[in-house]
Symmetry: C2
Subunit: 361 residues, 2 copies
């Protein structure tokens, strides 16, 4: 156990691919999409005693902070930080690093998404403990790499090189470069080469190091960032964040820092990992019936095959003769779409925004 | 206008193919499935002054009588007859004929389903007036035949023969025989021959004649039928019907009488006719958008083609990438099924019965 290890859980996503269940004020990470716990609660629980609740920060939308606190009663209220608006991961990480540095100048921070499914938790914690040690010793920027199992075109790929000196047997390698969402041919080449990992969006580094990188590579953060950092822990923290945070540059940590910095390394993660990216995730994590259906709610199926049906339980969903469809029901909406159009659920949300159907977002 | 002409509207059906909208106590004929009026109200309105409301009898389930009266405020209450239980058309017609005979010994009755779409109403009324005249003059049992437009395998076919003597130019022909729901090959042969009509379930005859036929061909109706006939119009009418009606033989008028009686004739109907047999009827009667969708309710469609979507309007139905599907939403149920499985909607209702989900029936 590292005394200086903290976790920063990134919970800014809207989860529009899980509409109509996922909403602005009740996004997918707050819901038990898979298993009994809300995804974010499972993420905190997974840390166990390696990073106990009082050392876990949540960065989320200000309008989601209250609901987030409700599903994480074990967390001190001040550990749930509401962003006045989403400014992408570089800003969120800058804010979190400033807060942690104030608490602990030696802070090592593990940054992770709120909504991924990882198991077994013990392997995850072991990987995290190793990463914390490496970060403390080498001051590297560390990423967790997942061995790719197929030519996924929706993820980022990490090209890795030589072993990090002094990584003492743990598979820690220097990062050569990054490729975001390659086409199928490229992804297949990557997999064949054996020199690539999926980027799972989990990072481990010293808070002081990432602050230095931000100051160097994000000069546009400039005065706003300095004012926020200075206000942390004081009476003006909240008002300063409210005023200055929206002025931070909106850019991902990957583009802003990781693609440019020296000493970026990747640690091979040997746990099962799923980014729960769309409704199809339910097939990977929920039991299927003899006809390949995943059904949850008050459901009546006749001659129905390969479908994902999810209802509120307050209304019957009845199907006959359908195949490979998503049917999702909530109190105010029903969504029907073929499974292979799972990415287009987002388009429905975009269209609802256009039509100003705010009550459905 | 025939002074002795009465209409008997048969409204005993459950409309299970229109589940989840059609329910035991609110069946399809009471709903504005097509157009602005409930189907049964359109049926009564179609009769116009040829058969004014006070001369229209409705035969319906006792548990539907109250709701039926609500959508037909123009009808005297005593014209809505509730069957204690469904005993098929021979029993319903026997009851109606007994009631009409008591009112008018010369009564001519036009029997018609509550839920068919017919237009133009004027052509229908003209056909009906002709039929009433022919029935008065010849004492025939008259059916309305529809010229078949394709090899429908779900309807009854009437094989017609020579012109009825004295039918004075109106195309009234003797019936040779009936074929119920032929297979496709047979239906195609029927259509090629030019000697067949669809049986549209509309009959015109003298009440006295059908009573004689019932007494002859349905001896099993026996004492129960005589007791009902005797009680009509008296203080004991309701209690006698409640006690004796369930004892009547459960058989259709077609099997019980029409296939056996002499002097059965068919009149060619030249109006547009649709039996509104399943959700597909909406495509024939409701406007379609540029992608062949029929949509009613609060609906958001992206890349959606050839679908029939009907919602309560109280919740959004959102679809993306679907084709040729039925999606029907009510306050307590959602039904999804391919259009070409429209007949299987009934199977869902059967299954709900089996599972004793009475609240959904």
């Amino acid at each position: 156990v590292s005394e200086n290890l903290y976790a920063v859980v990134m919970a800014g996503g809207a989860g529009t691919r899980f509409w109509p269940l996922s909403r602005r004020t009740n996004p997918k990470q707050l819901q038990p999409l898979v298993g009994d716990l809300p995804l974010i609660a499972a993420t905190v629980e997974r840390l166990g005693q390696l990073v106990p609740p009082e050392k876990v920060l949540i960065i989320t939308g200000a309008d989601q902070a209250e609901a987030t606190a409700k599903v994480l009663p074990q967390l001190p209220n001040e550990n749930i930080i509401g962003e006045p608006e989403g400014r992408d991961t570089a800003a969120a990480i800058a804010l979190a690093a400033s807060i942690l540095l104030k608490r602990d100048p030696e802070a090592i921070m593990a940054v992770m998404p709120a909504d991924h499914v990882i198991s077994p938790a013990e392997v995850f914690r072991k990987t995290l403990a190793t990463a914390a040690k490496v970060a403390a010793k080498t001051d590297c920027l560390l990423l967790f790499g997942i061995k790719p199992s197929f030519a996924h075109t929706g993820l980022g790929y990490i090209h890795f090189g030589e072993d990090l000196p002094g990584s003492s047997g743990a598979p820690v390698r220097r990062v050569v470069n990054f490729t975001e969402k390659p086409d199928t041919d490229t992804a297949e080449k990557f997999i064949k080469s054996g020199e690539y990992y999926w980027n799972s969006g989990i990072f481990v580094w010293q808070a002081a190091r990432i602050i230095r990188e931000i100051e160097q590579h994000l000069p546009k953060h400039g005065k706003s960032f300095k004012r926020i950092a200075a206000a942390i822990g004081g009476a003006e923290q909240e008002s300063t964040i409210a005023r200055e945070y929206p002025k931070l540059e909106k850019i991902s940590i990957d583009y802003a820092i990781l693609e440019k910095a020296e000493d970026v390394a990747v640690l091979e993660a040997n746990y099962q990992w799923d980014d729960v990216g769309s409704w199809l995730a339910l097939e990977r994590h929920c039991p299927q019936d003899a006809h390949g259906n995943v059904a949850d709610g008050d459901i009546l199926m006749l001659d129905t095959h390969g479908c994902i049906l999810r209802g509120s339980g307050r209304r019957l969903i009845a199907t006959v003769g359908i195949k490979d469809l998503l049917v999702i029901e909530t109190d105010d909406a029903i969504m029907v779409c073929p499974k292979n159009r799972d990415q287009d659920v987002k388009k429905l949300v975009d269209e609802l925004k256009k039509r100003e159907r705010l009550e459905l977002l």
